[in-house]
């Protein structure tokens, strides 16, 4: 096992720069997820760690040893590809044993390892099949088996679940996490799916346009996004971000959208007239139907557009001062499209972002 350190890493294809001065540290045994929309450079970064892409500038270190010029075959890593990249002409057993065959492991160890991996991954009955005779999920497991038999220093996953159907994806997610907990191998995992990132990672690294926007534990990133992009990228349904302007009302600073006033947390340094984004997650609203709101704490009025019951909770999509937003409630409210409701934002969970820089205030 090894720690991975990336310092001031650059990547350019010709004149096009795709990664800019990235710094990242992955401690030994940690599960780090690189998260970002497609084209953000996360796969490129992973492939550079793997040794499949050259380094334009900066360093990649495994256990403080520079590996920039070490060939992929000598880095002792294992990688699971998005489309599995199995050897089509080899059986499952041979696919998994390939790396050991190359370094001339003796037959007995080879069989033991393959059997160990296949029992972990539930591939025992499939060892003599060819990849084309397997389902997507089974192929995915073979690709993982091929990786774990190697005892690698670092595991690399490149969107391994994106070709699977929703149910299998959830199942494999748990399996990969379970595997990591058992093997404790340093892992770098690339995905564009924020739920995968949240559920699996020790640390999430959010990337955009070749830059790292923020990194931290999943909960830290969820609770304290650095900027508007991270706030909107993490969380499902995504965080509501209302465009407003700071105004003064009865001597108190409020966020105004036309005539609608949203209360602001008092501890921020805001100027009247400043343009801001008012960010609040759907679960941080208190919803009250208009009929019972009389007399209670005043909120903001909204009109229900769509109601989506998911079982444990109800997602309410509504319009507030001409802007769309979503609120989640666990109360069993009888709501219909067109209903007027009152919303009370939980001020402790309001995120404010500057209208210009889009950074958190």
């Amino acid at each position: 096992m090894a720690s991975v350190k990336i310092s001031r890493l650059d990547k350019a294809y010709g004149k096009v720069k795709v990664l800019h001065q990235l710094d990242l540290e992955v401690d030994d045994g940690k599960f780090v997820v690189l998260l970002g929309p497609s084209g953000c450079g996360k796969s490129t970064l992973l492939r550079m760690v793997a040794g499949l892409e050259s380094v334009t500038g900066g360093d990649i270190l495994f256990d403080d040893k520079r590996v920039n010029d070490v060939h992929a075959k000598d880095r002792n890593i294992a990688m699971v590809f998005q489309n599995y990249a199995l050897y089509a002409h080899m059986t499952v057993r041979k696919n998994m044993a390939f790396s050991m065959r190359l370094n001339k492991t003796d037959k007995k160890t080879m069989d033991e390892k393959v059997n160990w991996a296949s029992s972990i991954l539930g591939l025992d009955d499939l060892l003599d099949r060819l990849p084309k005779e397997l389902s997507g999920g089974q192929r995915q497991r073979v690709a993982m088996g091929r990786a774990i038999v190697r005892d690698p220093d670092v595991f690399l996953f490149d969107e391994p679940l994106s070709n699977l159907d929703a149910k299998l994806r959830v199942q494999m997610r748990t399996e990969i996490k379970d595997l990591h907990q058992r093997l404790q191998t340093t892992t770098i995992y690339v995905t564009h799916d924020q739920i995968e990132a949240m559920t699996m990672a020790d640390e999430v690294v959010v990337m955009r346009g070749g830059y790292i926007e923020q990194s931290g534990t999943p909960m830290d990133i969820y609770d304290n996004p650095n900027n508007l992009f991270v706030a909107q990228f993490i969380g499902s349904p995504t965080m509501n971000t209302l465009e407003c302007q700071v105004a003064e009302h009865n001597g108190v600073k409020v966020a105004a959208i036309e005539d609608t006033m949203l209360p602001l947390p008092g501890d921020r340094n805001l100027q009247v007239g400043q343009k801001i984004f008012y960010g609040i997650r759907p679960e941080h609203f208190q919803i009250t139907p208009q009929s019972v709101s009389a007399g209670s704490q005043p909120g903001v009025a909204g009109v229900v557009r769509v109601v989506e019951p998911t079982g444990p909770e109800i997602h309410v999509y509504l319009t507030l001062a001409g802007q769309d937003l979503c609120a989640i409630t666990r109360d069993r409210l009888e709501l219909r499209p067109g209903d007027n409701i009152q919303l009370q934002p939980d001020l402790a969970h309001v995120h404010l972002f500057d209208g210009e820089s889009k950074n958190a205030i």
């Binding site: 992929a72 880095r75 599995y84 190359l102």
Partner: protein, 299 residues
Amino acid sequence: MRDQSKRSLLPRWLTSEHPLPWLFPVTSLLIVFGLYPVLYSLWLSFFKRNPATRKEKFMPSWNWEKLLADERVWDAVQITFTYTLLALSIQLILGLAIALLLDTDKRGFGVMRALMTLPLVVPPAVTGMMFLLMYDSSFGVISNSLYALNLLSPTAPILGTGSTALWGVIVADVWQWTPFMVLIMLAGLRALPREPFEAASIDGASSLQSFVFLTLPMMSKIIALAVLIRGIDLFRIFDYVKVMTDSGPGTATETLTAYAGTVYFKSANFSYASTVALATLILVLVTSSIFIKVFKVRF
């Protein structure tokens, strides 16, 4: 509406969904230029012909018995197989090697790939004559280079010496037809997925190991197909031999088709020539069928 306008524009048989009208053109071509000549050859082979008197007598087994007892035929079979195997191996290895070198997206290689096809547009007879000049002992560039390197002596000209004449012809064939192999191999290589090779390099495979364990098995079907196509083509070698050595010296380069040609055009024994040609066809069919079976070639 559209269907009706179509119908009014085209004759009925051109819009038919019945297979027969569509099979007719190619079937008639095959019958006239393929089936009829074969059957006619077969018919000819059943006659004993006297070239001097031009008399023919129906004796079904005469030519076939003569064929089996004809030592020149057995020599020709051996020479044909030698020629085919040698030329095929060289073209295959060279073709694959050149294709591997050209299999890249780097600048300039597209032009190289296009230039590779140039030898293919030269008529084989012209190629033979070019090599004839290059082999010439007094001014030929190949001969004189070999003399200068002491690899060959002017007393034993390449095409005039029994032991080297076949090689002389093979070199011309290799020059002309290796590009064809390169094209097929390149098409195969370019179509290979990239990921398994990346996975292999991460699994610890060197370039050579990737080639042996991935490229070759993944290319096996294409290689088998290329070997089949070129093999059949090589087996009926005629032009280079005719132009460059005319089966000589002696019969050192006399292949089956060359022998059939000699019997036909020089001895005017059409029946026996047809028999030799048919025997060649049978040999090709048997050999390639075995090859297709063993290597599971699929079209």
